[in-house]
């Protein structure tokens, strides 16, 4: 009967201390979560926590090589914020962060709005074959960014692109998809193409969770489709919109494959076009791991700051 008095929540080691088998059992209960979570935790520490500690450590370290090729020994020392100073004084690196902010301010809202509109249209009664359209929109998510970029680059390159041929014959106008002013938006197009359907699916999942009584009530109150979308559906899919926006912001700062591949066809992209490309170049072309580590830490910090800023803003406006 003692079991009756114990809380129904998760069992604790204090359960039924009177009987010996129960005690044995309670140590098993105490050990079990660690056995279950242990392997995950170990790998998480190895692949997430440790690299972050290593990166932070590296970013505060300086390596000096004695002699022309370091043949007289290599000494490492604590560098304070020297590597961060070098990273932040590098105009190209700072410019790449601003470039990504500009990219994000335009591309993320465009993509999220497009995903929301598509989700609402697909879930409205007015759409025919919603299953087919949903599958089609989602399909690019399964195509790796590298392959998506190869695909689109073929449609951007003059001489190969049927789109350029088409606009030339129809309008007598030759678009330059790879020029200095346009290539950023050509990249935005690839990113939108890849992820709009995926974000749409997350929003659709949340739309499907809206109880049908809500629609029924809105209909009884005489709300039309626009009113229903604005006053019922949009407020209720808010969590999904916040989630997809935060992931898109983080994704924007990580942009790498698309510009790296387009570099070969577009002279407007240099080896420091995006923050990540910059860190990669610093590490593998200049072999300066310490400054590269400082750059990686800065990228993560900006991603964190923007995510928190966005979450703060959405929290405030909901009150």
């Amino acid at each position: 009967m003692t079991t009756q008095t114990t809380p129904t929540g998760a069992p604790t080691a204090a359960r039924r201390p009177a009987s010996p088998p129960a005690k044995k059992r309670s140590t098993a209960v105490g050990r079990a979560p660690w056995i279950l979570v242990g392997p995950f935790l170990l790998l998480f520490l190895l692949t997430f926590v440790l690299p972050i500690i290593v990166a932070i450590g590296q970013s505060f370290t300086t390596v000096t090589r004695a002699g022309l090729f370091g043949e007289q020994g290599v000494t490492t020392g604590f560098a304070w914020f020297e590597n961060y100073r070098i990273a932040l004084e590098d105009g190209n690196f700072v410019a790449s962060i601003w470039r990504m902010l500009l990219f994000g301010v335009v591309q993320v809202p465009v993509m999220i709005v497009a995903a929301t509109v598509l989700a609402l249209l697909l879930e409205s009664a007015s759409a025919r074959w919603p299953g087919f359209f949903r599958a089609t929109y989602f399909m690019p998510y399964g195509i790796p960014g590298v392959i998506a970029t190869i695909l689109w680059s073929f449609l951007y390159v003059p001489g190969l692109s049927p789109i350029i041929d088409l606009t030339e014959t129809l309008f007598g106008f030759t678009p330059d998809f790879l020029g200095a002013g346009t290539v950023l938006w050509s990249i935005a197009n690839i990113v939108t193409w890849t992820y709009a359907g995926y974000n749409m699916l997350i929003i659709v999942a949340q739309l499907k969770a809206i109880p049908p009584e809500m629609y029924e009530a809105a209909r009884v109150d005489g709300a039309g489709p626009w009113r229903t979308a604005w006053s019922i559906q949009l407020p209720l899919i808010r969590p999904a919109l916040v989630l997809t926006t935060v992931f898109s912001i983080i994704g924007t700062l990580q942009l790498f494959a698309e510009p790296q591949l387009l570099m070969t066809v577009s002279p407007a992209i240099d080896s420091q076009y995006t923050p990540n490309l910059s860190a990669y170049t610093t590490a593998f072309a200049y072999n300066d791991y310490n400054v590269a580590a400082a750059q990686s830490v800065l990228i993560a910090l900006v991603a964190f700051a923007l995510s928190f800023l966005f979450l703060r803003l959405t929290n405030r406006s909901s009150r």
């Binding site: 979560p33 399909m139 399964g142 790796p144 559906q233 590490a283």
Partner: protein, 305 residues
């Protein structure tokens, strides 16, 4: 009537019943045509690049540059091109493909199992450090994956693991997002009284997880598994940083290698377009077939987040 109302939102393929839908005005033909037309135009946008590569893969290099990109060329060279893709460099394309399958399959399976065990443990046991672990992993969800790749490379090269299968496989075994989803899903679905009952029946803790927990969590596990597979399959930065041996490349790195040679050697255009086609088709089919499974745990995660 009520039955139709409650059933309609769960349906996936058929158009929802007019009475139970947002707006609820029923279907007017003009609206239907307009909305479907908009959706069709958007569908063309998503399909054009894939259509282009199907056409391009069937052309010789001369036709590729000499004929209209949206229609087939003078010679139908699809099978010659695909044959060239599969045999070039001693079948290295097949090797890349197999590597991708290995990384994504093994990584996805183990990552899902580990995330399930960890998420279940956090949801169903009160133990010291539980909140710390959850906070730590939640932070991990927000850390850009590419920010850890560089230091991970430095770490792995010191351990002698860089440029091995392990260097790509080990980071693929961890899914913080999967862990997060599993915890929320286990919290909501695995009944504590059921776990208690199994305990009273004398089942061991691990057995309870394996027989009861895993079974109840299956819908969320499918979602986590698919996420992880796509994440690993599409990953480019990590293998790029880790691998220098071409035999270990996944398909993304391999195709990039071919693509980067096109400006010097035009015959690589045929190889690249053929290779892209061969790698896109199984993925596109898998996405279309599996898209209904992408719902399971997602809604739970999103609603609670």
């Amino acid at each position: 009537m009520t039955a139709a109302v409650s059933a309609a939102p769960q349906r996936t393929d058929a158009p929802p019943f007019p009475a139970a839908t947002p707006g609820g005005r029923g279907r007017r033909p003009a609206t239907t045509i307009l909305v479907t037309a908009v959706l069709a135009v958007v569908a063309i946008y998503f399909l054009v690049p894939v259509y282009w590569v199907v056409v391009a893969a069937s052309k010789t290099t001369d036709d590729l540059f000499g004929t209209n990109g949206f229609w087939f060329g003078n010679t139908f060279a699809l099978f010659d091109n695909l044959g060239a893709v599969l045999t070039y460099g001693g079948g290295v394309f097949i090797r890349w493909f197999a590597n991708s399958v290995l990384y994504a399959g093994v990584g996805g399976l183990i990552a899902t199992y580990l995330a399930a065990a960890g998420g279940y443990a956090l949801a169903k046991y009160a133990f010291k450090g539980r909140n710390l672990i959850f906070g730590l992993v939640l932070g991990g969800v927000l850390v850009p994956g590419t920010a850890t790749a560089l230091p991970l490379f430095l770490l792995f090269s010191q351990l002698g693991l860089a440029n091995t299968y392990w260097s790509v496989l080990i980071p693929s075994l961890v899914s913080p997002f999967g862990f997060f989803l599993c915890r929320i899903y286990a919290d909501a679905t695995v009944d504590t009284s059921l776990v208690e009952a199994a305990r009273i029946d004398g089942a061991g803790e691990l057995r309870i997880f394996h027989t009861l927990g895993l079974r109840i969590m299956t819908p969320a596990l499918v979602t986590v598994f698919l996420f992880q597979i796509v994440g690993i399959w599409n990953n480019y930065f990590l293998p790029l940083v880790m691998l220098s041996d071409q035999d270990l490349y996944p398909i993304t790195l391999g195709l990039n290698n071919w693509n980067s040679q096109t400006d010097r050697l035009p015959e690589f255009y045929e190889l690249t377009t053929g290779g892209v086609l061969l790698s896109v088709i199984p993925l596109a089919v898998a996405m279309i077939v599996l898209q209904r499974f992408w719902r399971g745990g997602l809604t739970e995660g999103a609603v609670k987040a």
